[in-house]
């Protein structure tokens, strides 16, 4: 555990690939910016399991948000070949539908991550349930380059929880029912169309739409700034 804390203060390793350096050096967006003026990248991953230490990445989907609009022309999706010691287990195939032969010829992680980091450079990362998505990204970056992913990032599940908590406070509802935070349920609850689930790209798109809907809930109190979004749903410093 100490190791993880030490990690943060370690000097940056030498000989990092250029895209990784640029990713790390990009200035962080000013939290005082209006939310629309901030570029975002919405990410979703498919994996062989839920444990970033043990399981492997199989697919990554990204879609950008610029000026408050989801850009289908700036979407990205890549399959990832899992390492030989982390085969695709039958349990997970049921969820993501990816078969071993689908990823057999995909590029390995160390080819995919630099491309992905290039796309994330200078952008605020948006994910649904950070523990999983950012967990896998962190694990990959540590293992490959000995560096950490950079914030800030926003977790739409955390934003949803924020709104639900507010709702409870306002309505004084005594229900201590666990709020539903599944992506699909949340998207449907705000009247969004849901794209077929468990495909890294579709889930990223659904997350992106959910994010826009959540931001519009802030609008009642004036256009939110990045700072407001981070306060309610930030997840990576």
């Amino acid at each position: 555990m100490m190791g993880a804390a030490m990690f943060l203060f370690r000097r940056r390793p030498a000989n990092l690939p250029e895209p990784v350096v640029q990713y790390l050096d990009a200035p962080r967006p000013d939290p005082a910016l209006l939310w629309r003026d901030v570029p975002y990248s919405v990410m979703d991953v498919e994996t062989t399991g839920l444990n970033p230490r043990r399981d492997a990445l199989l697919a990554i989907g990204l879609v950008d948000i610029d000026e408050g609009r989801i850009r289908m022309d700036r979407r990205w999706y890549s399959l990832v070949r899992p390492p030989d010691d982390a085969p695709v287990n039958p349990e997970a195939i049921r969820i993501h539908g990816l078969l071993p032969q689908d990823v057999e010829h995909a590029p390995p992680l160390d080819d995919v991550i630099p491309v992905m980091l290039q796309r994330l450079t200078g952008r605020v990362l948006v994910v649904h349930v950070a523990d999983v998505d950012i967990g896998f990204l962190r694990q990959a970056m540590r293992r490959l380059y000995g560096v950490e992913p950079r914030g800030p990032a926003i977790d739409t599940a955390r934003l949803a929880w924020h709104f639900q908590r507010h709702q409870h406070l306002i309505e004084g509802s005594g229900s201590d029912q666990e709020p539903a935070l599944q992506l699909r349920a949340l998207a449907e609850s705000v009247g969004l169309p849901v794209y077929p689930e468990h495909n890294a790209f579709n889930d990223a798109l659904t997350t992106a739409q959910l994010f826009l809907a959540q931001v519009s809930m802030f609008e009642a109190h004036g256009t939110p700034r990045l700072r407001d979004l981070l306060r309610a749903g930030g997840c990576l410093r």
Partner: protein
């Protein structure tokens, strides 16, 4: 991606694009979410840089006029906005505000313009004028409903070789040539020789049978003696449906096709049948064999069934009206001839007139009879009794064929409407010089007269008197006021105005507050322009620019007339199929969103024309 593609596939005009283009759009769209009340576009603000397609939710269009903000329309899922600003490159003419939380797909301007360039149907959809849009809506139905009738050109039906002979060819030689070529018709080349132009004659199998063999003519008779000339021809690039109508209207079985003034081939009824084996359009032929009442009744039933077929096939209501008029005229002629056969030859020239919708070629379903009879002045003794008997027989027979008597007694059996020429002329003069309420009601029926049978020249006798009414400003003013008695049921906010009382709630009358309003306007404009025709569309077309009607307004009214007529007829047919009495009261919430939108557009065109009439004729009255 697949989701966006699926959505585009379900919504016009995208649904008409090739799949490849739809995929291209799906991968280029941007997606934006608007909370309730958010302003998406601002009137007079920044021009739109996207075409907006509503994926979820709805938006309000607001227009500010003289400091007052008015709601002009509400658009919902699958509808587009922003294109007016995009096309003109000018600030939006309306503010677009999210009526509720709304998700939109945004198509970038460059892609939108490229699609408009590459796909005319896509461009048409966003055309600025309502005429273009209504026209497009009709075309779409034609194209999808009966491709063989509405997409095939006549030239594609040509199977027979073109056989031509000179006019002095003996009939035996001509018949031999037809047998050799296995042709059912041949073209007779008339001067100037060597040029098969529109003046050429035609001889068919039937002509050889009926005019040569049955008449016992010498087989050396020159073919010119038995030919029909000039032949009824049609442009080779006409749609099959138009060709079919032409054959029905003229009662011919062969249609020489012209291309650049030259005959290039002949198509026959059989060629049409081959294309659509169950087409019921050749009905007038069946009448020849009809003798019993049952035959005649079966015939009228068949006509009604045909209307349904044409409707399903996506025909225009105006074309259906022409086809039905041809069929009903044939029936009427058959019935009158039977009556003449029973009563003996008429004592003097006369004409049987049809009035109202039949007179305008606009009858689609069987309705009440509206007819009259005119006979020559200084008729011999007994003429009145003869025509009374004739009228009784014909009207009675029509009732048996399913045409009920006119409740207002506008029929030739009523002595008032069975009069010599001079009496009729006085009727018209009287109506025009003293335009009472009663008189205006009569003009609405009798100005739309059309002779169907008889030798008396009605048009020459009555039409000049009718047309002279245009010089009477008071009469025109009254006629204008009568035409404005019903106003288009659409308010300033472009919302349909529905009945709010009792069992009429949510209902709109597509006749009295729809087609009839356009019929009245067309009659007024035709009179103003001195156009003798009775058909509403012809009247509008011919009086444009020759009356206070502008060409644009004429086109809009024509499109509106077709559209409302189509909605009305479709509605009536639906009722017929459910075993109900067809009416004109349409329940608006049973219309599809697209039909509602089209109806709104059409009624708006009527409202605009009505406002213009109000201005024009009020001014002229004061002056």
């Amino acid at each position: 991606m697949e989701e966006i593609v699926r959505f585009l596939l379900e919504h016009p005009p995208f649904s008409q694009l090739p799949l490849l283009q739809i995929q291209r759009i799906a991968s280029a769209v941007q997606i934006e979410y608007f909370g309730q009340g958010a302003h998406i576009l601002t009137q007079g603000g920044k021009p739109a840089s996207f075409l907006y397609l509503i994926r979820r939710g709805s938006v309000d269009l607001l227009q500010e006029r003289n400091g007052v903000v008015e709601l002009t329309d509400t658009l919902s899922e699958g509808e587009c906005f922003g294109y007016v600003s995009l096309i003109r490159g000018k600030p939006p003419i309306s503010t677009v505000r999210a009526h509720e939380a709304t998700l939109c797909y945004l198509i970038p301007a460059a892609l939108f313009h490229q699609l408009r360039r590459d796909y005319p149907s896509f461009a048409q959809f966003f055309a600025r004028s309502i005429t273009d849009r209504l026209e497009h809506a009709l075309q779409q139905r034609h194209a999808t409903a009966a491709p063989e009738l509405f997409q095939t050109r006549l030239r594609d039906l040509i199977t027979e070789p073109l056989v031509t002979v000179s006019p002095d060819t003996p009939v035996r030689e001509a018949a031999r040539r037809m047998r050799e070529a296995q042709a059912s018709a041949l073209i007779v080349d008339l001067p100037p020789y060597g040029v098969l132009d529109a003046g050429s004659g035609i001889v068919t199998d039937r002509d050889l049978r009926n005019r040569v063999v049955a008449e016992g003519l010498d087989y050396n008779t020159p073919i010119a003696q038995v030919m029909s000339a000039p032949a009824i021809t049609a442009p080779a690039d006409c749609l099959v449906f138009e060709g079919l109508l032409k054959m029905i209207e003229h009662g011919v079985h062969h249609l020489p096709l012209s291309d650049g003034g030259q005959i290039i081939g002949v198509v026959s009824y059989r060629d049409f049948l081959r294309l659509q084996s169950h087409n019921p359009l050749l009905m007038p032929q069946r009448l020849v064999r009809a003798h019993s009442d049952a035959d005649l009744r079966a015939y009228t039933e068949q006509v009604t069934a045909t209307v349904g077929g044409l409707l399903d096939a996506g025909a225009r209501v105006s074309d259906i009206g022409r086809a039905v008029a041809a069929a009903h005229d044939a029936l009427l002629v058959h019935i009158i001839r039977d009556a003449e056969a029973a009563l003996g030859p008429p004592p003097c020239p006369y004409a049987w007139l049809v009035l109202g919708s039949e007179g305008r070629y606009e009858q689609t379903l069987r309705t009440d009879q509206d007819n009259a009879l005119i006979y020559a002045d200084n008729a011999p003794e007994g003429a009145e009794a003869y025509f009374e008997a004739l009228a009784e027989r014909v009207v009675e027979q029509l009732v048996r064929c399913g045409f009920p008597r006119c409740p207002g007694n506008v029929m030739a059996t009523n002595p008032q409407w069975r009069q010599p020429r001079s009496v009729w002329q006085n009727y018209f003069r009287q109506w025009i010089s003293v335009p009472s309420e009663e008189a205006l009601l009569q003009t609405a029926i009798f100005f739309d007269l059309r002779p169907v049978y008889g030798t008396l020249d009605t048009e020459a006798s009555l039409r000049p008197i009718i047309l002279r009414a245009r010089e009477n400003r008071i009469f025109l003013g009254r006629l204008a006021r009568a035409a404005l008695r019903q106003t288009a049921p659409i308010n300033f906010f472009r919302q349909l105005v529905l009945e709010r009382r009792g069992d009429q709630r949510g209902v709109i009358d597509l006749k009295y507050r729809g087609t009839a309003m356009i019929v009245d306007l067309a009659r007024l404009f035709a009179l103003e322009a001195g156009v003798p025709d009775t058909n509403t569309i012809t009247r509008l077309r011919k009086s444009a620019n020759h009356s206070s009607l502008s060409e644009t307004s004429a086109e809009e009214l024509i499109a509106a007339f077709e559209l409302i007529g189509l909605l009305r007829l479709r509605w009536q047919y639906q009722q017929l199929r459910q075993g109900l009495e067809p009416g004109n009261q349409v329940e608006v919430d049973k219309l599809t969103p697209l039909e509602r939108r089209e109806l709104k557009e059409a009624l708006r065109a009527v409202a605009v024309a009505q406002r213009a009439v109000a201005v024009t004729f009020q001014t002229s009255l004061i002056a």
